[in-house]
């Protein structure tokens, strides 16, 4: 009898505990570990104050590790994550697969129409918003104002590739280890191919024609690669075929680059006096063009999406709406200043007079607006994506082609050989995948 009473008591305590646990929902958020995301983790008190019933577990990982992990989880419906940070490359592909929960029913005060059209367009699949943008970025020219002045040149706000070449020649002083231009050379679809694909758009080149036939045998790609190699061989730093974002960042911060064309997010690094020796000597300009109507800048955004396998969709939506809201931008501004607000997602941010005072704010917005993921290059193309092609095969093809172009930069093969091999690799893979009938 005693035993039965004890058992009953125990069971009721257990039930009460279970009830308490149910009242609080824990969601797991997978994220890249860049500065804006790390900052959000330190501002979570605001979210907990507004939503005491939701607890957030963070998994912050390096981009490539994260991509592999979330892809495995979403493809197998593993359900380990309730919110995933995904790029503009994954969003349309996963959205099409039905792997992401539609965010069309976010509350009215979220003001979805305030999202920048270029960014929102890349995240909409069949009329459904499949992920909410957390921050957006483009690419632009960063240059040394002191070196330009010394060379007696001024950088136009919207330069052409000829302007860039002239400036690179004038600023290069190899004896003093100053190189006119630093560009990505490391092989990878998100490394040198991000830069070269964006550059090729401004030359009127494209990955595929409307029949998905690769276009590396055309004149436009030849001109792109030849000019890139000439620039880098004549005015670039040694060993450039190993340089990615961070290598070029280090070179620029040490005063070894006259110009660097890369992500807009770099602006806050190179102007930070704690890290950069040239912090007060940096100017910004739009990515170059050739007068064909497209600029050589890319468009990228990190977005929050909810995998269809999540068991806590409502709590996840609450979190996504908070993290990508106007109020969150104001929260960051009040704690860390307007310069640290995640850029590139909302029209209202750029209308804010306080934000307009931030240097490079206007350049970032103009760069983002100059890129259109649905019309990336001069001619019509069958794909979405500015510096990538949003098809699942692109990671593999892009990296294989990037290896050829990186080898051409290292001098082990010629530009013609690299283009011929790129055409061959891409044709084989696209035929195998059924795009080319």
């Amino acid at each position: 009898m005693k035993l039965t009473i004890r058992a009953l008591l125990g069971a009721s305590v257990a039930l009460a505990l279970a009830g308490a646990a149910q009242a609080e929902t824990t969601i797991t958020v997978a994220t890249v570990n860049n500065g804006d995301m790390i900052r959000m983790q330190s501002l979570m008190d605001d979210f907990y104050a507004k939503h005491p019933d939701i607890k957030v577990d963070w998994v912050a990982l390096e981009e490539n590790v994260l991509r592999q992990k979330v892809t495995t989880d979403i493809a197998t419906k593993g359900g380990q994550f309730d919110v995933m940070t995904i790029g503009t490359y994954e969003a349309p592909i996963w959205g099409k697969q039905g792997w992401l929960v539609s965010l069309n029913d976010l509350p009215a005060e979220y003001d979805v129409d305030d999202l920048l059209p270029a960014i929102r367009g890349g995240l909409t699949v069949d009329g459904n918003l499949v992920a909410a943008p957390f921050y957006g970025e483009s690419s632009m020219v960063m240059y040394r104002t002191d070196l330009m002045e010394k060379a007696g040149l001024t950088m136009p706000e919207a330069p052409t590739w000829d302007d860039i070449k002239k400036a690179a020649a004038a600023m290069t002083d190899k004896g003093a280890e100053v190189y006119g231009i630093c560009l990505r050379g490391k092989a990878g679809w998100g490394e040198n191919m991000a830069f070269l694909t964006a550059m090729s758009n401004s030359y009127g080149a494209k990955w595929f024609d409307m029949d998905w036939k690769p276009q590396f045998d055309g004149e436009a790609w030849k001109a792109t690669l030849t000019d890139y190699l000439a620039l880098m061989n004549d005015y670039g730093p040694p060993g450039a075929s190993n340089n990615g974002f961070n290598e070029n960042l280090a070179l620029f911060q040490q005063g070894k680059c006259g110009m660097w064309i890369d992500a807009t997010v770099a602006a806050s690094f190179v102007t930070n006096p704690k890290e950069s020796t040239v912090a007060d000597k940096v100017g910004f300009a739009l990515a170059p063009d050739t007068g064909k109507g497209k600029r050589g800048n890319w468009l990228w955004a990190w977005n929050l999406g909810i995998p269809a396998g999540s068991q806590k969709i409502d709590a996840a939506k609450t979190f996504v709406a908070w993290a990508t809201s106007k109020e969150y931008l104001e929260l960051v501004a009040s704690k860390e200043g307007w310069a640290n607000v995640p850029p590139g997602t909302r029209t209202s941010l750029y209308a804010n007079p306080e934000y307009q005072k931030v240097p490079f704010a206007k350049m970032t917005l103009d760069s983002i607006n100059a890129a259109d993921p649905t019309k990336p290059t001069v001619d019509e193309v069958p794909y979405v994506g500015v510096q990538f092609v949003a098809i699942p095969e692109f990671q593999g093809i892009g990296t294989a082609v990037g290896q050829q172009f990186s080898a051409a930069l290292a001098g082990s093969i010629s530009a013609e050989e690299a283009l011929a091999k790129a055409q061959e690799i891409t044709t084989t893979e696209m035929t195998r995948s059924g795009y080319i009938k």
Partner: protein, 276 residues
Amino acid sequence: MARKTTQTRTAVVTVAAWTIGLLIFFPILWIIILGFKSEGDAIKTPLAVLTSDWTLASYHEVQERSNYFLHFMNSVILSLGSTLLALVIAIPAAWSMAFVPGKRTKDLLMWMLSTKMMPAVGVLVPMYLMFRDFGLLDTRIGLVVVLTLINLPIVIWMLYTYFKEIPGEILEAARMDGANLRAEILHVLTPMAVPGIASTVLLNVILAWNEAFWTLQLTTSSAAPLTQFIASYSSPEGLFYAKLSAASTMAIAPILILGWFSQKQLVRGLTFGAVK
């Protein structure tokens, strides 16, 4: 004359040993140094790195951003748990292979080793699906099982070679004295093989501590060990050498200290033999 040669030889061997030792240790030393530098200084030329200011800023930031203790405890539980489980399976297995070998024992040993030759990523999806269906994703028990299975071939192989060195006559004598199988393994074989078992345990703990594929793929937050702690500090956009170095130093320090204090045991184990 002979003595002079020996002295020269000793000197050469000593210098060579120190050089090789320093070369191997240098990357770790450099990581430790970079952990105490600012991000801006960490990317300078080596000489400028050494002369720049020392700072604890990276350690502070790592402390603020991550729950080191949780990851550390997970690493301890995973490496010790998988090692103990592996020993429980491997000691009887190695005993049977060493003292009552069958016709196919050698083939069996080779087959076990061959499982190490397959790239792990090849079975990622099936493993992930099994973990999902058994509810083992992000659990310590799931990872203990995986790490045990990964290291089991090596543990059995090492124990097998140690056991082979023990004369079968000693075990026979124990049996003559009336010891049953359990007593034979527990009270006769195991005590004699302690140095060998100790070095196997140490090696296995180190391997499990460093395993960075499955521990990254199969965990999210609650079971994530130090490998994930490190992986959260490298970044494709932005400088990270100093923070990554600080995090790496914190992650390898425990195992480095363990290795330092047990190096005699490790060396003795690796050169072990019952009748030497």
